[in-house]
C-alpha cells in the first residue's frame, strides 16, 4: 500500500511534464489527459483511504521513503512521504475537488488557444499540493509550499498579455515569499534545536525544549501561514489573484492552496500546544482576518472579489480554531473541508455566470439570472445556504463547532472570541445574501458591452454543471455526515488530539445565536438589495464603504510603507554605486597606483598599451623578485 503514495504525486507530475513539453500535438486531447491523471490520483486516494479505514486507530500512518534528497554531514533531508489521517483528509479534498475542477475547465477553457498549457499548470498544481500535504519533513513540505506558489503564479497570470493579470501574479508570489522567509527560519530553528526537521522527531520531542524557542518557531510558521492563507498582514494578494481564470480561483484560491496555512499550523500542533504565546497570536490573526475579509466582502461589486473576501474571512475562522489548540484543530480542518465544497461550488457558479455573461464580473450588471441559469442558480443557492450556516447544512456544523470552541476559551477572551465570530457570521450572511440577490434576483441590469454585444445568458454545458452539482451535494450533506457521532473529529483525533472544553454557553445556545445572527444578516441584505432595484452604478457610499472597496486601504498602506521607499532606496543605491563605490575604489587605487588616471586615458585609446604594459610590469616584477631571492 505504501508504494501507492508516491504514485499520487507522480500521476499529475507526469501530466504536467507531458503537457508542458509535449507541444501542439497534444492540443486536441491534452485536457482529457490532464483530467484523467487527476482522476487517477483521486482513485488512488480512495484506495488508500479504505486501506486506512481498515486499520486500527493507532495504526493509520503509512510511510514511504523514496530516496535521500540532500545528504550533508548532520543534515538529512529525504524525499519521503507520510500518509496519516490529516494528510489523507487533504489528499481526498485536493484530488476530489481537483478532479471536478479539471472536468469543469474542459468546458470553461474550451475556446482558449492555450488550453493544453492551462491543464499542464493545473496538473503541476495538484502535484505540488499533494507533495505539500504528503511530505514527512518540513523541507520537503517547503518544496511543495513554493511549488503551489509557482503554480498559483503561473495560473493567476495565465492571461499574461493582460497587464493586470501579470501584476497580480507577481504580487502573489512576492507576498508569499515574504511569508516563506518565516518557513525557512522555522526550519533553520528546528535544525539547530533538534538537528532534524522531520515531522516525527521534531513533533515528538517538541515538549522537551524551551518555550522561547518553540514560540519563535511557532511565530515563524505563522508568518508562512499568513502568506499562503492570505491572513492579515499578508492578505493583500488574494483579491488581485482573482485575475486568474475562475476554475483557478475555485481550486487554488478557495478550496485548497490558501488553506495550506491552516494545514501547517495544525500539522505543527505539538509545537503550538507548548507555545501559548504563539497560539495567542494565531488567534488574533484569525480573528482580525475574519472580520477584515468579511467587511471587504460586503463592499465589492466584483463577484469574484466579494467571494475572495469571503475566503479570507472563512480561513480566518479556521486559523482562529487552529490557534485554540486540540479543542479546535479537528474543527478547523472540518470547516476547511466543508468550505472546500461550498466555496469551490460558489466560485464555479460564479464562473458559470461569467461564462454566460461575456466574462462580466460586476454584479450590478447581472440581475434576475435565476430564470436563465437554473442549474447554476440552484447549486449556487445550496452552497450559499451552506456558507451562511443555514441549519443542518455543512457550514452550520463546522462553523458552530468553532464558535463553541471560541467561547470555551473561557473568561473575557472566550466572550470576545465568541462575539467576534458571531459578528463574522452576521456579516457572512449579509454579503452572501447581497451576492445572491444582485446576481440571481431582481430585474435584469445588463447592457451591451463596448462592442455593442448584448450578453445572452445561458446555462453552461454538462462538463461544467456536473462538478457544480457534485459540490452542491457536498455542501449540503458533508457537515451532517461529519458530525454523526463526531466521526470526523474522531478520525483526526490520533493526529490532532481532541478536547472538549467547558463553555459558559451550551451547544444549543451557540447554534441558536448563530442562526439568529444569520437571520439578521440575511434580513439586512434583503432590506437593502431585495426590496428595491439595485442601482447599476454603485452609490458613492460612506468613508467606510469606500475604504472597504479599496480593501481597507491595504495597497495604499503597502505602497506608502514599502514600495515607494523601496523604489527610492534602489534608485539612490544605483547612484551611490556608480558615483561613490566605484569612485572611491578607483580613487583609492589611484592614490596607490594611478589606476584612475589610467582609466581616464582609456578614453583616449591607450587602453591596450596600458593594460599590456601593466601586465608586462607584473611579469617583470615576478621575474625580478624570483631572481633576487635566488641570488
Amino acid at each position: 500500500m505504501e508504494s501507492l503514495i508516491g504514485l499520487l504525486v507522480a500521476a499529475p507530475l507526469l501530466g504536467a511534464l507531458v503537457l508542458l513539453t509535449g507541444g501542439r500535438r497534444l492540443d486536441r486531447a491534452g485536457h482529457w489527459l490532464g483530467t484523467a491523471l487527476a482522476a487517477t490520483s483521486f482513485v488512488l486516494a480512495v484506495v488508500l483511504f479504505f486501506d486506512l479505514l481498515g486499520r486500527a486507530d493507532g495504526d493509520r500512518t503509512l510511510h514511504q521513503h523514496l530516496f535521500s534528497w540532500v545528504p550533508v554531514a548532520g543534515f538529512q533531508a529525504d524525499i519521503a512521504f507520510q500518509l496519516d489521517q490529516l494528510s489523507m483528509t487533504f489528499v481526498l479534498l485536493i484530488t476530489g475537488v481537483g478532479s471536478l475542477i479539471h472536468l469543469y475547465s474542459v468546458g470553461y477553457m474550451e475556446h482558449d488557444p492555450r488550453r493544453r498549457r492551462f491543464f499542464g499548470y493545473l496538473n503541476l498544481f495538484l502535484a505540488a499540493m499533494l507533495l505539500l500535504v504528503l511530505a514527512d519533513n518540513y523541507l520537503l513540505l517547503y518544496a511543495g509550499w513554493e511549488g503551489v506558489g509557482l503554480a498559483s503564479y503561473l495560473l493567476i497570470g495565465f492571461w499574461q498579455d493582460r497587464p493586470r493579470a501579470a501584476t497580480a501574479a507577481k504580487k502573489a508570489f512576492i507576498v508569499n515569499r515574504v511569508g516563506d522567509i518565516g518557513l525557512s527560519i522555522a526550519i533553520m530553528l528546528m535544525f539547530t534545536t533538534f538537528g532534524t526537521f522531520a515531522f516525527g522527531p521534531v513533533l515528538s520531542s517538541a515538549a522537551e525544549t524551551g518555550e522561547g524557542t518553540l514560540t519563535a518557531i511557532g511565530l515563524m510558521l505563522l508568518l508562512a501561514a499568513c502568506g499562503k492563507s492570505a491572513q492579515v498582514p499578508l492578505q493583500s494578494w488574494l483579491g488581485d489573484a482573482m485575475e486568474g481564470p475562475t476554475p483557478v480561483s475555485a481550486l487554488i484560491h478557495a478550496a485548497t492552496m490558501v488553506t495550506a496555512g491552516v494545514y501547517l499550523v495544525v500539522r505543527s500542533g505539538a509545537i503550538f500546544n507548548a507555545a501559548p504565546d504563539a497560539q495567542t497570536v494565531v488567534i488574533v490573526v484569525g480573528a482580525v482576518t475574519l472580520v477584515f475579509g468579511a467587511i471587504v466582502g460586503c463592499a465589492k461589486d466584483d463577484i469574484k472579489k466579494a467571494l475572495a473576501g469571503s475566503t479570507m474571512s472563512q480561513i480566518g475562522y479556521m486559523m482562529l480554531a487552529a490557534g485554540l489548540g486540540p479543542i479546535g484543530y479537528a474543527f478547523a480542518i472540518m470547516h476547511l473541508v466543508t468550505h472546500g465544497f461550498f466555496k469551490a461550488g460558489l466560485f464555479l457558479g460564479a464562473g458559470s455566470v461569467m461564462h454566460g455573461m461575456n466574462d462580466e464580473v460586476d454584479m450590478r450588471k447581472y440581475g434576475g439570472l435565476r430564470k436563465y441559469m437554473p442549474v447554476t442558480f440552484i447549486t449556487f443557492g445550496l452552497a450559499y445556504l451552506a456558507i451562511i450556516g443555514f441549519p443542518y447544512l455543512s457550514g452550520f456544523f463546522s462553523k458552530d463547532e468553532i464558535i463553541y470552541a471560541g467561547f470555551a476559551k473561557g473568561g473575557t477572551q472566550g466572550w470576545i472570541l465568541g462575539s467576534v465570530m458571531l459578528l463574522g457570521a452576521a456579516l457572512t450572511a449579509y454579503y452572501m445574501t447581497r451576492i445572491m440577490l444582485l446576481t440571481f434576483f431582481g430585474e435584469k441590469r445588463w447592457q451591451p458591452d463596448a462592442h455593442g454585444h448584448e450578453p445572452h445568458p445561458h446555462e453552461s454545458p454538462a462538463t461544467m454543471t456536473i462538478p457544480m452539482i457534485v459540490l452542491a451535494i457536498g455542501s449540503v450533506g458533508a457537515g451532517f455526515a461529519f458530525n454523526l457521532n463526531e466521526s470526523f473529529a474522531h478520525w483526526l483525533e490520533p493526529v490532532t488530539g481532541l478536547a472538549h472544553g467547558d463553555s459558559p454557553v451550551g451547544h444549543g445556545t451557540v447554534s441558536l445565536a448563530a442562526t439568529a445572527v444569520m437571520v439578521i444578516g440575511v434580513g439586512a441584505a434583503y432590506l437593502q438589495y431585495g426590496r428595491r432595484p439595485a442601482p447599476v452604478v454603485a452609490p458613492a457610499g460612506s468613508f467606510v464603504t469606500r475604504a472597504a472597496r479599496r480593501d481597507l486601504l491595504q495597497d495604499d498602506f503597502n505602497h506608502a510603507a514599502f514600495v515607494t521607499p523601496g523604489t527610492y532606496l534602489t534608485r539612490g543605491l544605483v547612484y551611490v554605486d556608480h558615483k561613490l563605490v566605484d569612485g572611491v575604489v578607483n580613487g583609492l587605487a589611484a592614490a596607490f597606483g594611478g589606476l584612475s588616471g589610467r582609466l581616464r586615458r582609456v578614453q583616449n585609446g591607450y587602453a591596450r598599451s596600458y593594460a599590456v604594459s601593466m601586465f608586462g610590469g607584473a611579469a617583470v616584477l615576478i621575474a625580478v623578485t624570483l631572481l633576487m631571492r635566488a641570488v
Partner: protein, 541 residues
C-alpha cells in the same frame, strides 16, 4: 607513472585553442566545429576524472595527483591534484563550455556587408580559441596544488578574458559604433586593472609565504602538501601577524575575483558589454576560481587568520547579498541586472564558506555549481533575446511570451532557478548555506533570508516587463528559439532539475573534502540543543 589525467583535461582545450586558431580565415564553420569538438573531448576527460575519483572512506584528500619538479631553486613544482571541491568545479567548467560555444555560435561572425580583409582577419577563430584557452587555464587553477602554479594561471587567464571582453561586444549597447567600442574597451580595461591589482597584492603574499617557509624549513616551498606536512609536524608555524597579512593578501585578490562588495564594480561593466556567452564565462566559470581559492588557500593555509577575519567577511557578504539584489532591482539593462544578481549570489557563496560549517561549505560548493548553470540558462536566453532586438534595455521589450512562448518559458525557468525555487538546483545550495550560517550566526542567517524575497522581486519584475503584457511595437515578428538555441538551453534546464531533485551525486563527492577543510580550520558543527533519540529519527525507514 599513471596517465596524467588532470594534465590531459587541461591540455585538451589548450590544444583545441591552437587548432581552432589555426583554421583558415574563410573556414569559419570548421573553426566552430573544431572548438566544439575539443570542448566535448574535455567533457570526456572531466567525466573520467569524476569516475576515477574515490569518495569512499579513507580515500586520499587529493587524488589523481601529478608531481614534477619545475623550478628547483625556488621550490616551484608542477603539482596537480583534486579534492571533491576541485572535481565539482572542473566538472562545472567542462560541462558549461560546449553550451557557451553553441550559444555564441554566430556571435563572432563578421557583420553583414563586412568582408574578411585578408588572411589575418579572423575574429571567429579568435573568439572560440580564446574561450578554450580560458577553459584550459581555469581547469589548471582548479587542479594546481602548488601555490605558485595556481598563481600563474590565476593571473594568466586575465589575458584571454581581456581580449574576449574588449574585442567582442553584443552589438546591442547604446550609441554609435565608436561609442560602443569605447564602452567595451573601458569595461575590458576596468576588468583587467581590478584583477591585476588583486593579483599584484596576492603576488606579494605568495612571495611572503615563500619567505616564511624558506626561513623555517630551510628551503622555500609552494607545495600545499609540503606545507601541510610541515605544519602537521610542527616545523612550520606562522606568527599571528604574518599569517594575517598573508591571509589578507590572498583574500583581497579572491574578493576582487569573486567579486565581493565593495570590489564588485568591474563585474556589471564587464558582463554588460561582453557577449552573453562571455558574460557567462566570467561569472559562472572565471569568478568561481575566486571563491574556490578562498576555500582551498585562505582557509586551508591560514586557519587562524580566517577565523580572525570571519566577522568582517560575513558582514561584507551580507552587504553583497542585499546590496547586489537591490542594485539588480534598479537596473534598466538586463545584462547588468543579471550581473548584480550574481553579486548577490556570490555573497551567499562567501557567506557559506565563512560560516565554517559542513552545511555552509557543502552548500557553498554546490552553490558554485548551481549558480553557474542557472546563470548560464538565464543569461544565454537573455542573449538570444537581445540578439533578436539589438537592445539590452528592459524597456525595449514587452509581451514576448505572446510571440516567442518557448523563449519566454525557458527564460522563466532560468529566472526561477535564479530565485532559488525548490525543485531546481539553486534551492538546495541556498538553503544549505542559510542553515549552515544560521547554526553558527543566527542574525547573519536571518539577514540573508532577505535575499530570498529580493531575488523573487528582481526576477519577476524583469520577467513581467519583458515577457508579459501587450506585445511591444516592433516585436510582433520576433522569432521563437531556434533548434540550436533550444539545444543549448534544454540540457541546462534538465541539469537544473536533476540537481534540484537529486543532488546526491555532487554532495557525495564534495562531503569528504568539506570535512578536510573544516578540520583545517579546527571547526566542528554546532550541535542541536535537543537530542532526538535514534528510534524516532529512523521512524520513516
Amino acid at each position: 607513472m599513471s596517465f596524467p589525467l588532470l594534465t590531459a583535461t587541461a591540455l585538451a582545450p589548450a590544444i583545441g585553442a591552437v587548432a581552432t586558431a589555426a583554421v583558415p580565415a574563410a573556414r569559419r564553420t570548421a573553426a566552430k566545429w573544431t572548438a566544439l569538438g575539443f570542448s566535448v573531448v574535455t567533457v570526456v576527460f572531466a567525466a573520467a576524472v569524476l569516475l576515477r575519483f574515490d569518495t569512499g572512506p579513507g580515500a586520499d584528500r587529493y587524488q589523481l595527483t601529478e608531481s614534477l619538479t619545475w623550478i628547483r631553486d625556488f621550490g616551484v613544482t608542477y603539482e596537480l591534484g583534486v579534492d571533491g571541491i576541485g572535481v565539482a568545479m572542473i566538472g562545472l567548467t567542462a560541462i558549461l563550455i560546449p553550451f557557451l560555444i553553441g550559444a555564441g555560435w554566430n556571435d563572432a561572425d563578421p557583420k553583414e556587408g563586412e568582408t574578411p580583409q585578408g588572411r589575418r582577419w579572423r575574429p571567429t577563430q579568435g573568439f572560440f580559441a580564446l574561450i578554450l584557452l580560458v577553459e584550459a587555464m581555469v581547469i589548471m587553477s582548479f587542479a594546481a596544488t602548488d601555490i605558485f602554479l595556481f598563481y600563474i594561471f590565476f593571473e594568466a587567464m586575465l589575458i584571454p578574458m581581456y581580449f574576449l571582453i574588449g574585442g567582442f561586444g553584443d552589438r546591442a549597447g547604446s550609441g554609435d559604433e565608436a561609442g560602443q567600442a569605447r564602452q567595451r574597451s573601458y569595461a575590458a580595461v576596468k576588468f583587467l586593472l581590478y584583477n591585476l591589482a588583486g593579483g599584484l597584492v596576492m603576488l606579494a603574499a605568495v612571495i611572503g609565504l615563500w619567505v616564511a617557509t624558506n626561513d623555517q624549513l630551510g628551503s622555500g616551498t609552494f607545495s600545499l602538501a609540503a606545507i601541510a606536512d610541515a605544519k602537521a609536524a610542527g616545523e612550520l608555524t606562522f606568527g599571528t601577524g604574518t599569517e594575517r597579512w598573508l591571509f589578507l593578501g590572498f583574500f583581497f585578490a579572491f574578493a576582487i575575483k569573486a567579486p565581493l562588495w565593495p570590489l564588485h564594480t568591474w563585474l556589471p561593466n564587464a558582463m554588460g558589454e561582453s557577449t552573453a556567452p562571455v558574460a557567462v564565462l566570467i561569472t559562472a566559470v572565471v569568478d568561481k576560481v575566486g571563491t574556490f581559492a578562498m576555500l582551498r588557500f585562505c582557509l586551508g593555509l591560514f586557519p587562524e587568520a580566517s577565523n580572525w577575519a570571519t566577522p568582517a567577511v560575513i558582514v561584507l557578504s551580507l552587504v553583497s547579498i542585499v546590496y547586489g539584489a537591490l542594485l539588480a532591482l534598479g537596473q534598466r539593462d538586463m545584462k547588468r541586472l543579471i550581473a548584480y544578481a550574481s553579486i548577490s549570489h556570490f555573497g551567499f557563496i562567501v557567506l557559506g564558506i565563512f560560516a565554517m560549517t559542513s552545511q555552509g561549505h557543502s552548500g557553498a560548493t554546490l552553490y558554485m555549481v548551481n549558480h553557474g548553470i542557472a546563470t548560464a540558462a538565464l543569461m544565454l536566453v537573455a542573449g538570444f533575446l537581445i540578439s533578436r532586438r539589438g537592445s539590452r534595455l528592459i524597456a525595449d521589450y514587452g509581451g514576448v511570451q505572446k510571440t516567442a512562448p518557448v523563449l519566454a518559458g525557458t527564460f522563466l525557468v532560468g529566472g526561477l532557478a535564479t530565485l532559488s525555487l525548490p525543485g531546481l538546483g539553486p534551492f538546495v545550495s541556498e538553503f544549505l548555506v542559510l542553515v549552515g550560517t544560521f547554526s553558527r550566526y543566527k542574525a547573519a542567517g536571518i539577514i540573508a533570508t532577505v535575499g530570498i524575497v529580493l531575488a523573487a522581486l528582481y526576477v519577476l519584475v524583469l520577467y513581467q516587463r519583458t515577457m508579459t503584457g501587450p506585445v511591444k511595437p516592433g516585436l510582433e515578428k520576433l522569432p521563437d528559439l531556434r533548434m540550436r538555441e533550444l539545444a543549448v538551453v534544454a540540457p541546462l534546464i534538465a541539469l537544473l532539475i536533476f540537481l534540484g531533485v537529486y543532488p546526491k551525486p555532487v554532495t557525495d563527492i564534495v562531503n569528504p573534502a568539506v570535512e578536510h577543510t573544516l578540520s583545517d580550520v579546527n571547526k566542528t558543527d554546532p550541535q542541536p540543543n535537543v537530542t532526538v533519540t535514534e528510534a524516532e529519527g529512523a521512524s520513516h525507514e
